[in-house]
Every structure is written in C-alpha cells, then in structure tokens.
C-alpha cells in the first residue's frame, strides 16, 4: 500500500529518472512504486515519451564546406600567429643588435679615427653630434637587416 504523499514524492523524481540522473536506490523505489500505481506509471510513460523524443531529435547539419573552411581557417590563423611571433622575436633581437653595435662600435670607431678627427677639426662639443650620426647609421644597418630578414621569411613561406 502506498502512502498518500509518496505519489507526489515519486512524481517529483520522474523527470530525473528519465534523464538518468538518479541513484540506484531511488530507481528501485520508483520501480517498486510504479509497479503498483497505475497513475504514476502513466506519468512515467509521459516523461519517457519526452526523453525518447529528445534523444531522437534530428541532428542539424552544418554546411558541407564547414570542415574544409575550418581546416583552412585554423591553418591560416596559426600561420599568422607564428609569423607575428617570429616578427616580434626578430624585432627584439635587432633592437639588442643595434644597441650592442652602437655601444660597442663607438669606442672602436673613436680608436680607429683617433688620429683623423683632430685633422678634421672635430672638437669635443661636436662629439655628441658625431655619436648621433654614428647611432643613426648603426640603427639604419639594423633596420636594413630587419627588412632583409622579413623578405627572406616571406619568400620561405610563399607556396611553390
């Protein structure tokens, strides 16, 4: 004999039962109840109808080209990201290279031109101007190297 409030308790669980989200203990309890209660068994059948229907919903189909489009898009995006990373690395390296060239090259330049500068009447106050011109030349060399490297990378990536 079922308790009067047991029907409500059981019905509250039926949705979860058809969703397969109940413990074995409750499943057994529901099975025992529905075997003797026609109303709750009918209610369970209604839930099962919904559950079956949801499982059999037609699968929407994506456009046929989606697979190819996705592959191409992923490849292009990853290539672009790799290029960006390479460019960033190259830029950082060239920055270091240009500074190193400027700072290390200056004493060598002074040493090499030590005897020549006084003849050209270059004085101490003009040294800063000379250093600026020297820096500009070394940075120009650095950026030329960057452009050449970038062109080289582009040629390497170009499809044959």
């Amino acid at each position: 004999m079922n308790r009067p409030d047991e029907h409500a308790e059981i019905r509250k669980q039926l949705a979860l039962l058809v969703a397969g989200a109940l413990d074995d203990e409750i499943k057994v309890r529901i099975a025992r109840h529905t075997s003797t209660c026609a109303d709750c068994a009918a209610e369970l059948e209604r839930w099962e109808l919904i559950s079956r229907g949801l499982r059999r919903l037609p699968t929407p189909q994506p456009s046929p080209a989606l697979f190819e489009r996705t592959r191409a898009m992923v490849a292009a995006q990853l290539a672009a990201q790799t290029e960006q990373r390479q460019n960033r690395t190259t830029l950082i390296l060239l920055l270091f290279f240009s500074w190193a060239l400027t700072l290390l090259g200056w004493p060598i330049f002074r040493f090499a031109t030590g005897g020549l500068l006084p003849l050209l009447d270059v004085r101490f106050h003009q040294m800063w101007l000379l250093f600026a011109i020297f820096s500009a030349l070394t940075w120009l060399a650095g950026s030329s190297a960057a452009v050449l490297l970038s062109l080289h990378h582009q040629l390497e990536r170009r499809p044959v």
Binding site: R11, V18, Q61, R71
Partner: protein
C-alpha cells in the same frame, strides 16, 4: 547450429571491440599529432566531432551562421591550447568547455539578454510539475501521434540558455552528469536541478501549446 550462431556472435563482438579499440588508438594518435603541431590531425578530429559540436553550438546560439563561426573558433582554440590539454582528462568535456566559453563570450557581446538566468531558484524545492494538475487525461497523451520531434525542437528553442544547454548535453550528446558538470563548471546538484527544471519546462511548453491548439 546453436553453437555456430554463438560463435558468429562472439566473432562479431570481438570485431566490434577491435574496431572500437582501433578507433581509440587512431584518436589518441591524432591528438598527439596535433600536440606536435601537425594540423593534418584536424582531418581526423574535426569529422569525429563535427555534427555533435555544431549541434551543441546551435542549441546555444540558435543562429546557424553564428554556430558555424563558433565552430571554427573552437577548433582554432583547440589547436592553440592542445599542448595544455591533460591527456588523462576527457577530451570531449575539454572540447565542449572551450566551445561553451566561446559561445558565452559571443552571446555576452551580441545578445547579453540571452544570458539572463531563468526565473526561479535552481535549488528551490517547488517544481513546475508539482504545480501541474495531476490526474485526468493529460494533454501530452494526445501528442503521441503528432510530430513530436518538431514540437520538442520548438519547445527546446523557447527555453532559457542554461536549460537548452543541459538538455542538449544530456540527451543529444549523451554526456554523463559528471561530464556535464565539468563542461558547465557547476556542482552535480546544480546540473540535476537544471535537468529537472528544463524537462519540466519542455513539458509545460508542449502541453500549453497542445491545449492552445485544442481550443483553437
């Protein structure tokens, strides 16, 4: 004769197990290949998940074009993050989590109102079914011979996002409750209460529609 039949059945079962095993090995191989940066692995992975992932995204955003864009974004994210994927974890749950996060970001940008939480507390004790009239001939019975699928799909479409999502993951993707909890990032109890409420709402929508039709 019976012995012959049994031996055929055993051979069939062994064949099925071997083919499952082979599929699993190929899948693991494709993941490893992708981890090494070989994009050819996508040829094995995308078709395997194509319909499921697209269906899930479509349930989330409801627009085919947007679902296809998100599908592409998801695979891009997979290719970017595959090295951080822990192979001991479930790939399906990881993939659907990535897709879910992208879909939610997209909806947050495009249609923030679609992310509104459904009315009522997930954990509340009172359920819609407890408020439904019980006994008597249920209108749902009359649906038996009608186009159940299209009506269910329409009902599903009218649900709030969290309910559509949980139903899709459980009934269409056939994920376990634990997997759904992992994808949604919620406790098991929340998944269960969302499942119950979503099913109740589907039933309520269908029965309301049927009663409306009966009156008309």
């Amino acid at each position: 004769m019976r012995l012959f039949g049994a031996s055929i059945r055993i051979t069939d079962m062994a064949g099925a197990v071997a083919s499952l095993w082979e599929g699993r090995v190929q899948f693991e191989g494709a993941l490893e290949q992708l981890r090494r940066g070989d994009l050819n692995a996508l040829s094995a992975l995308i078709p395997r998940y194509q319909n499921r992932l697209y269906r899930y995204l479509l349930r989330m955003v409801r627009q085919p074009g947007e679902a296809e864009d998100l599908f592409q974004q998801t695979w891009l994210r997979v290719a970017e993050k595959i090295r951080s994927f822990d192979a001991s974890r479930n790939f399906d749950a990881w993939l659907f989590t990535l897709a879910r996060n992208l879909a939610l970001d997209h909806l947050r940008r495009i249609r923030p109102s679609s992310l509104d939480a459904p009315a009522g507390n997930d954990e509340a004790g009172e359920t819609i079914i407890s408020r439904m009239a019980s006994g008597g001939p249920a209108p749902l019975d009359q649906l038996l011979a009608r186009e159940l699928s299209s009506r269910l799909a329409a009902a599903l479409d009218r649900l709030p996002l969290v309910y559509r999502e949980v139903l899709s993951l459980r009934f269409e993707e056939e994920m376990k409750i634990e997997e759904i909890a992992a994808v949604m990032g919620t406790p098991l109890s929340t998944v269960k209460s969302r499942l119950r409420r979503s099913l109740e709402q589907v039933r309520q929508i269908m029965e309301a529609g049927d009663q409306g039709e009966a009156r008309a």
